[in-house]
Amino acid sequence: MTGDEACAEGALAAGCRFFGGYPITPATEIAEHMSERLPEVGGTFIQMEDEIAAIASVLGAAWAGQKSMTATSGPGFSLMMENIGLAACTETPCVVVNVQRAGPSTGLPTMGAQADMMQARWGSHGDYEIIALAPSSAQEIFYQTITAFNLSERYRTPVFIMTDEIIGHMSEKVVIPAADQIRTEERPKPQGRKDRFLLYKPGPNGVAPMPAAGEGYNVHVTGLTHDEKGYPVMSIEAQEQMMTRIKTKILNNLDDIVITEAHELEDAEIVIVSYGISARTSMAAMQQARAMGLKVGFLRLITVWPFAERQIRELAQRVKAFVTVEINLGQIHLEVTRAAAGQATCHLVGHHGGAIISPDKVIAAIKEVV
């Protein structure tokens, strides 16, 4: 099946029962597949009037108690940004898939890119933390969609799947395990007296339990700065308390959230850093470089946000250089450069968008660095 279909199947396996969508190349197939499959499992699909409405409906369904998601590409992702901010501010679990295509603007709708990575991190106004995963195959998008829902429920936060047109439209073998082999998580539910319940009072892992509408908690949910009860409070102190909670629930759990994959890093002098479709380019390049006798390793970012800062910082102490491979003009490359903090040189193998990067380009860059 295609990556888009595998994404939809992963969502269903994770327990997603609401999809609010809007057609856009190259993410449309996720919506199409969900429109067929959701009613079979008792869920609901709705095609909204635009991406703004799609994400708004996803947040509404999340507060109705459903695991909910949407899928889009660059132009739609731009339109969703305001309500992604509302989701971050109100700590609403949801999953947003961005099947990236080349931009800016309408760009190359049918051709892949990885140029929305910084938009994923900073696209909505204000400070907040976000979780973003980057799958490298159809099989992986299946599993990562499940992980995305689990993280979203665990941390009450929007989670992005930053895939791309190439994986979305590529057909590959996907193994779907039996339901009892799949671990799914539910958001923590409140206990104790309903009249004393505080909607944003953090539990042990920094995350507050979340009731659904209709359960008798009379919650108030607002995008205004709010106190632990959820009531708007227009003060610097309330802002600080809210922001601290939104940030620390992610930043204090980095070991749980940041997933990376290490390949031949033990003796590496040069480390390729990559994610998503470009990780496949990078894997091939690393193997070719090793065959040439070059001491090249590969760090694959499965979680792109929050950034694997500690991993890069530690590697920078002992390696000569980083080569970041991505289909943009240097978005994660700048993060690597920042984390390396001058301890190792940092190089980019980028692309303007529209095609995958050939391993030859990576080899050429490695040879220059050596």
């Binding site: 009613p39 703004i52 708004a56 996803v58 509404g60 109705a64 009379n218 607002t222």
Partner: protein, 283 residues
């Protein structure tokens, strides 16, 4: 000081509980609405209708957008959602479809629902999503200080139409009717009894219901258009006419002529949820 507090407490003790006490977040009072504003009256009518309609209050939710009327969700002691500007209806759509047992009320203003949120309104009406949408129409953007809205009458003065509004306003019931709403009505905050009964009826309607409530904004609209608070209410009394089932194209707001109030549409049409179950859930 302590005497004043004691006096205040004594008088508070003598005042019986507010009849809507159980539906108001009294810990959030005082509210933000200005003296003479119509929102509180429409809000109270909504709460009275909630109490009177017989629905289980635990199933009732309120969703608002942004603006003065958008603050309503912050004062109601129900599951309540103060969302982004213009997006109350699609949020409410997800809430309702996510749990069809909920009874979802959207309470927001004309700027929020019909300018930035206009597209969502017509599509929710077209789909016949079972929602009750109450629009407090005060003819301008109150919270930001009185700018022109999609409902501002021709030639009316606002801070962004200093020479008078050169655009034509929407006829909201006509828009709702044309978009397919199951229930469409208009009242003013002066017609509190009719309004409350109408909202109650809308709550029990299985389909997309829309009620436009005309309410004064004396601080931002009235002041610039030489309309004192009492004069606006006089217009509501003297320059309106109740005509149920009126032709929706006759519902333009022009207080120089008569403004038509009443219940204009009340029809049966299968909802989005019923049709989804029928066509998509083939089990």
């Amino acid at each position: 000081m302590s005497q004043a507090v004691a006096r205040h407490e004594a008088s508070a003790a003598a005042v019986p509980d507010h009849p809507l006490e159980d539906l108001i977040r009294s810990d959030r009072i005082p509210h933000i609405w200005c003296p003479g504003c119509g929102i509180g009256t429409a809000f109270a009518a909504t709460l009275s209708a909630m109490k009177g309609c017989g629905l289980d209050l635990a199933t009732l939710c309120m969703v608002s957008g942004i603006g003065c009327s958008g603050r309503a969700a912050g004062y109601v002691k129900l599951d309540s959602f103060h969302t982004t500007h213009g997006r109350a209806i699609p949020f409410a759509t997800g809430l309702k479809l996510g749990n069809p047992k909920l009874n979802v009320v959207v309470f927001s203003g004309d700027g929020d629902l019909f300018a930035i949120g206009g597209n969502h309104f017509i599509h929710a009406a077209r789909r016949n999503i079972p929602l009750t949408v109450i629009c407090l129409n005060n003819l301008n953007y109150g919270m930001t200080g009185g700018q022109a809205a999609a409902t501002t009458p021709y030639l009316a003065r606002t801070t962004t139409t200093p020479a008078g509004n050169h655009e034509a306003p929407f006829n909201l019931p006509l828009l709702a009717w044309a978009s397919g709403a199951s229930f469409v009505a208009r009242w003013t905050i002066l017609h509190i009894r009719e309004l409350t009964e109408c909202i109650q009826k809308a709550f029990l309607k299985n389909g997309f219901s829309f009620i436009e409530v005309l309410g004064p904004c004396p601080i931002n609209y009235g002041r610039r258009n030489k309309e004192k608070p009492l004069q606006t209410l006089k217009l509501y009394q003297e320059q309106t006419i109740i005509r149920n089932h009126a032709d929706p194209s006759d519902l333009e707001i022009d207080f120089k002529k008569k403004v038509v109030l009443g219940e204009f549409v009340d029809k049966e049409r299968s909802t989005c949820i019923e049709n989804y179950d029928k066509t998509c859930r083939l089990m």
